[in-house]
């Protein structure tokens, strides 16, 4: 055996194909007799469709077919379902207005699908789409979530009076109010968590095909969870049996949540493929991506923290309006509730918390999970409150956190979650040291001498990952299980193909999972291949989101490996004529304890497939095992981020001088990959705080509809990061892992805004802190 594989910086198996242009992304696939789709989309945020005239378009060169919402209704195609039922404060189910694949009678946001045009080439499809005439009666629109429930606001759906999807709450209101009544200090903030547009660099793609030979469909799609996509599409929308539909998500160019959902285009091309009896491909352009990929965040929150005279937290009171957009996207309902309010305890012993959330419909793109999904919003509330309280009470912001850290585990929070383990002092201490917090005041003096402002901010975040125990999720309204599946197929010569229901779209599962497998089986990593993303190959899967892949998907593989090793032990015992209980498996071989008898894993595999000398009376031949793993609890990654900024008061430009992240992800399989995940998450979090802000005008036109108007961070916007980890292994999965994909995006905005408000000497300012906003904030401060 060579060096241990767990914890090793193994270079990625997937890189060669990506670096040589040999990756196979969905748009790279060209099927025989391929045809192409373009969508006619609503140019209005809210309008009644009076008439659709496709006659000119139908005669346009190359056009094969044109379908409208009426055609979809005639075909009895269902609407897009929501996968999570929230029960409101009155015990009533949330309002679920229909979400048709192609608009039926009304359009509700700019970009809403109205017509699909299928043609011989993409140019011909687009040319014809331009010839489709749609007469609209434009209606007034509401775009701001905080105005959606106002009297007289334009109404989106008959089924949702007052544009309200639900009013939901968690926690003990009376006890929380009582805590505030006896508080020595109350800190209050009015916070906006800005709407974000995910912008994976690969736009969405869907290529549907149909075979008359066996009445089956195949959908190639840029998706994070092909089995979920299939389940939703077959059972809820198209009414097809699952065995007649194959969904393939090959190489996917980033997701960040936006490729979890079943989208209208996926259904439309799959259905259209049967009608035209040709494969139908739609490739989103970036403008469509801005308009139609589910957006993220968009909360307006009033939050209060009650403290005693020593800065001990007594209670937290939070009221949030969450803008879910024009329709409920696949998991929209659970993001501002289950994934948000349950995290409001943060790392602290706050004894009572109450949170009320109102989810509202507006004439904007649907909002759903985007990297972090609810947890960045919660962290922003908690960590902005804590830092502000520290400043108001003149307590060091690290010290106030230490006074309130949870230190004994397991810990039951007042908002449903049970933290299994953590060490928040360890990550705080390490972060302070790495960030050289003690040298800050000197650096600040220097900045002041140079005519600049300098600030430092913390965020001590927690997240709930590894979603989820299915029974818990079900009790909270999930309409799906949240287990994961894995299969280990041992080949006769001892190499291994592993099938996982997790999906990699940048995370490097083909390497990380192979490290786990090779380590357990004691074989070179080259002998292990990981297969994912194809419902015809992988037995089942719930996919990748919520930093769940290693904790849930990885554990399913470990469970299958356990079965393989156990069966191998039986075979080896037979081959070595030993008692099974005397056979141990180590370093890739079965050995009889206390003897030199040994059978390598490869020899055992060979015996399983060439079973000439085999215990046929006790065992089936072959060595292929699968496992489904349903987690016992969520995992709770946590850490401390420290951000130091310098602000030029003349221009309002914020420069990140240092960004330090110390995370506890439990056991780490591949530190190189984990660091990369943190770097990427941090940059998206910094994007939210510094450069990204989705803007609509009052009529519902998207003003930030291209990379020229919506600024995702460039290389020159971010620094080199200082990252490190501390480790408290997760207590309830065999690898001790917690997940690392979202942490950066969760912790960074609060750390950055705490630093900027510190530099500016203001209580709050809105994200993104663009130079103009910073400059205006300073100007207003001076005027005041």
């Amino acid at each position: 055996m060579g060096a241990p594989l767990i914890g090793a910086r193994v270079e990625r198996k997937e890189d060669y194909r990506f670096l040589t242009g040999a990756g196979q992304y969905t748009d790279d696939l060209e099927l025989p007799r391929q045809s192409y789709a373009a969508f006619v989309r609503s140019p209005h945020a809210h309008a009644v469709i009076k008439k659709i005239n496709s006659s000119k378009a139908k005669n346009s060169p190359g056009v094969l077919a044109i379908f409208t919402g009426e055609d979809f209704a005639t075909a009895k195609l269902g609407g897009l379902p929501c996968g999570w039922l929230i029960t409101d404060v009155n015990g009533q189910p949330m309002k679920e207005p229909p979400h048709p694949c192609l608009a039926q009678g009304k359009v509700r946001y700019v970009g809403d699908q109205v017509v699909i045009v299928v043609a011989e080439s993409i140019d011909e499809a687009r040319d014809a789409a331009e010839l489709v005439k749609v007469d609209y009666e434009v209606l007034p629109a509401v775009v701001d979530g905080s105005k959606a429930t106002a009297k007289g606001a334009p109404q989106l759906h008959e089924a949702a009076p007052g544009n309200t999807c639900y009013v939901w709450s968690i926690g003990d209101k009376a006890a929380t109010d009582a805590a505030f009544a006896k508080a020595a200090h109350v800190t209050k903030l009015d916070l906006v968590n800005n709407r974000l547009i995910p912008n994976a660099i690969e736009p969405r793609v869907a290529n549907g095909s149909y075979s008359r030979a066996d009445d089956s469909y195949t959908l190639y799609v840029a998706s994070q969870n092909p089995h979920v996509e299939r389940l939703l599409m077959t059972a809820f929308v198209m009414g097809l049996p699952e065995h007649k539909v194959r969904v393939v998500a090959g190489d996917v160019g980033g997701g960040f949540g936006s490729k979890i959902y079943l989208y209208a285009e996926d259904v439309a091309v799959t259905w259209a493929a049967k009608q035209v009896n040709r494969p139908v491909k739609w490739t989103s352009d970036r403008s469509e991506a801005f308009l139609t990929d589910a957006h993220g965040r968009d909360h307006h929150t009033v939050a209060e923290l009650a403290l005693d005279k020593d800065g001990k937290f007594l209670g937290m009171r939070v009221k949030t309006t969450a803008n879910v957009g024009a329709y409920l996207s696949t998991f929209a309902s659970c993001v501002p509730t289950i994934l948000y309010a349950t995290l409001l305890a943060g790392q602290y012993k706050t004894p009572v918390i109450h949170c009320e959330v109102t989810a509202v419909f507006t004439n904007t793109t649907p909002v759903d999970a985007y990297r972090g999904a609810g947890r960045p919003e919660a962290t922003y509330v908690v960590e902005r409150l804590v830092e502000t309280a520290a400043r108001e009470m003149k307590i060091d912001p690290a010290e106030i956190r230490r006074r309130n850290f949870i230190t004994a585990f397991p810990y039951q929070t007042p908002v449903a979650l049970m933290y299994d383990i953590g060490d928040y002092n360890a990550t705080m201490n390490a972060a302070q040291k790495l960030a050289d917090v003690s040298g800050f005041s000197k650096r600040k003096d220097q900045s002041i001498k140079n005519g600049k402002l300098r600030g430092l901010g913390y965020a001590a975040y927690i997240e709930a990952c590894g979603i989820a125990p299915s029974a818990v999720a079900g009790a909270l309204g999930a309409r799906a299980g949240l287990f994961e599946a894995g299969e280990v197929r041992v080949h006769p010569t001892g190499s291994v193909t592993v099938f996982t229901g997790s999906h990699s779209h940048g995370q490097g599962h083909e390497t990380t999972f192979a490290q786990v497998v090779a380590d357990r089986l004691g074989m070179p990593i080259e002998n292990v291949d990981i297969v994912h993303g194809d419902t015809s190959k992988v037995l089942f899967g719930m996919g990748t989101y919520g930093s769940r892949s290693i904790a849930v998907g990885g554990t399913a593989i470990v469970k299958a490996l356990d079965k393989v090793i156990a069966k191998g032990r039986k075979i080896a015992a037979h081959l070595m004529e030993a008692a099974e209980s005397d056979v141990v498996f180590e370093n890739g071989a079965y050995k009889v304890a206390g003897t030199d008898k040994k059978k390598t894993f490869g020899e055992v595999a060979f015996a399983a497939y060439v079973p000439h000398n085999y215990p046929h009376d006790k065992l089936e031949p072959g060595l292929n095992e699968n496992a489904f793993y349903d987690p016992a609890n969520f995992t709770f990654p946590a850490g401390t981020y420290v951000c130091e900024v310098e602000v030029d008061p003349e221009t309002g430009v914020v420069k990140i001088e240092k960004f330090t992240a110390v995370d506890d992800f439990g056991k780490i399989i591949n530190p190189m990959i984990v660091e990369g995940q943190v770097h990427g998450g941090l940059t998206q979090g910094i994007g939210q705080a510094l450069t990204e802000g989705c803007q609509y005008d009052a009529s519902g036109q998207l003003l930030t509809g291209s990379f020229m108007d919506y600024c995702i961070p460039r290389a020159s916007d971010v620094p080199f990061y200082q990252v490190d980890t501390r480790e408290t292994p997760c207590t309830h999965n065999p690898l001790g892992v917690k997940g690392c994909g979202e942490a950066g995006a969760i912790g960074a905005p609060a750390a950055l805004m705490n630093a900027i408000t510190d530099a500016l000497g203001v209580k709050d300012m809105p994200m993104p802190a663009t130079p103009q906003t910073v400059w205006r904030t300073l100007k207003n401060k001076k005027a005041a």
Partner: protein, 159 residues
């Protein structure tokens, strides 16, 4: 109306019938089936479509196929040695984990190779500025910046 274009791509002469409006990236991806060159936006911002034309990194989404008449174009598929050995810049991206989902990667590598020709030992600042036209949503650029520095030095050393 179809027009004929003739050019060199990855060392081989090719001719194709294109429409006047056909973009170079469309010719490369859809007609020549070299799908390593990607399309990530429609405003010439993301750089995923970057190829080398006559030795210079260009965004193939921002020029017509006809404009490449007679040009010598290299795509990501032509960067590694014929035996499959990675170019020093590609090797640096692998070693420094300068890629995650891989979608922006071909454009990053094509731009980086051009940049490194003129900057054999670049500073962090120079690299970050040179990436103005290449967007990545996965890596936070941290490891891309490291990879390009290392790749540039490796290219200079192998001259």
């Amino acid at each position: 109306m179809a027009v004929k274009v003739s050019l060199k791509v990855n060392g081989k002469s090719v001719s194709a019938e294109v429409e006047e409006r056909t973009l170079l990236v469309t010719l490369i991806r859809e007609q020549l089936r070299l799908t390593g060159t990607h399309v990530g936006c429609d405003t010439a911002q993301c750089g995923a479509c970057t190829v080398s034309m006559n030795g210079m990194a260009v965004k193939s989404c921002s020029m017509l196929a006809m404009q490449a008449e007679g040009a010598d174009v290299m795509t990501i598929e032509g960067v590694a040695k014929p035996d499959g050995t990675l170019h020093p810049m590609q090797a640096a991206f692998k070693e420094h984990h300068g890629l995650q989902c891989g979608f922006c990667t071909p454009g990053m590598v094509m731009n980086a190779i051009d940049f490194a020709k003129h900057h054999p030992n670049p500073s962090e600042q120079e690299i970050r500025e040179a990436l103005e036209g290449n967007l990545c949503r996965c890596t936070g650029y941290h490891n891309i910046v490291k990879a390009i520095g290392a790749g540039a030095r490796a290219m200079a050393a192998s001259k």
